[in-house]
Amino acid sequence: MTLVYPVQSLAAHPPRLSPAYKSTVKRSPSKPLIPMRHTLSELTGPVYGHETVRENDHDLTVQGKGEPLGERIIVHGHVLDEDGRGVPNTLVELWQANACGRYVHVVDQHPAPLDPNFTGAGRAQSDAQGYYRFVTIKPGAYPWGNHHNAWRPAHIHFSVFGHSFVSRLVTQMYFPGDPLFPFDPIFNSVTDEKARDRMISSFDLENTKPDWALCYRFNIVLRGRNATPMENK
């Protein structure tokens, strides 16, 4: 099977210049992008080896000396292509703030406590069906300097590879029902409501572990369609 990557699929993404998110104003191209055909350079991509994904890299609650504070959660789902096929053996990296909304990054000056038992970085490899699973802490909302009283909705950053260099995706997973959604220019940079909804995880009671952790499902859909779809299915 050969995958193709129609540029039409890119319409779901936010425009690069999205002035309500102020940092885009000086960092987005001012000249038109140049269309080109995909060559082998674009149609291939790094094949991730298993070597750097360690046994507990998917569980952010066991990386410290003790348990991190906050609400333990399971985040799981499938990495899919645009036809709904699982993307197997692909690297999924994530990073996030702690339960108080504080990142360990040196630049983060939000006056909320760091958690000595929580780094907030994880990685996993999807299985043969494209399934991945993380255990972590629900991140807190945090303020940022974009405008007066700006707060980011709670989110987890995801970085995923897929089948080619043009299926590469960095996104953010949000939590259902967040009251900050209407006020966040990054979330709302995605102008189509259905597309925005694809960034919101769903509460998953069936996979919530009794007496242990709530579960959220987040499917990640990457570019890539079968070049010769079966019309008679």
């Binding site: 885009t24 269309p35 350079s41 291939t44 780094t119 925005r196």
Partner: protein
């Protein structure tokens, strides 16, 4: 297993200002790196090169919170990906690199000069590296290419030919004077008069 057909791709969001401890910790955080900016191992064949530069925004200010990823063929023009069906003579060469820019917007990749890769018509492209640029303030990463000056094949490259002549230089790394391994300079301008050519791929 096929899931319900999705109604579209998951939209991109910015990497934000805090990706470093997860994606490019580089010894500064208690987390190991998945990838590095050094693509070369002792048994890699090909001409060793160093690509260095800085990233600038539309005001000409350096961008210290940018992540760059590169993907390239080996010296024979073959990719370390089973989708490239040709045998790989250079199996230790993975062809992928990642780096976060430093406080001066600076970056370095140590790699090899890639070989030529054919375009979809079988026509050879000039040696090039594909580049993805991520940063706070970028809601979707930008794709570009790094070509090399002094390459006769640049004149016939089908992708460079799509680029207005007065902007082609933004895609060509310039060889720096000196002995030893070749050093190329490749600055990236996100916006403005010197704006790097980005491709709609």
């Amino acid at each position: 297993m096929e899931q319900a057909k999705p109604d579209g791709v998951t939209p991109s969001q910015t990497v934000g200002p805090y990706f470093a401890y997860g994606l490019t910790p580089n010894g500064k955080y208690d987390w190991n790196d998945t990838f590095s900016n050094n693509l070369v191992t002792a048994d890699t064949s090909g001409e060793r090169i160093r690509i260095e530069g800085q990233v600038f925004d539309g005001d000409g200010e350096v961008v210290p919170d940018c992540m760059l990823e590169i993907w390239q063929a080996d010296a024979q023009g073959r990719f370390s990906d089973p989708q490239d069906k040709r045998a790989l003579p250079n199996t230790s060469f993975k062809g992928f690199g990642r780096i976060g820019t430093d406080a001066n917007g600076g970056f370095v990749f140590n790699t090899i000069k890639p070989g030529q890769v054919a375009d979809p018509d079988g026509k050879p492209q000039a040696p090039h590296i594909v580049l993805a640029v991520f940063a706070r303030g970028m809601l979707l990463h930008n794709y570009s290419r790094i070509y090399f000056d002094g390459e006769a094949a640049n004149a016939a490259d089908p992708v460079l030919a799509l680029v207005p002549a007065d902007r082609r230089a933004t895609l060509i790394a310039t060889r720096q004077p000196g002995n030893g391994n070749a050093v190329y300079r490749f600055d990236i301008h996100l916006q403005g008069d010197k704006e790097t050519v980005f491709f709609d791929v």
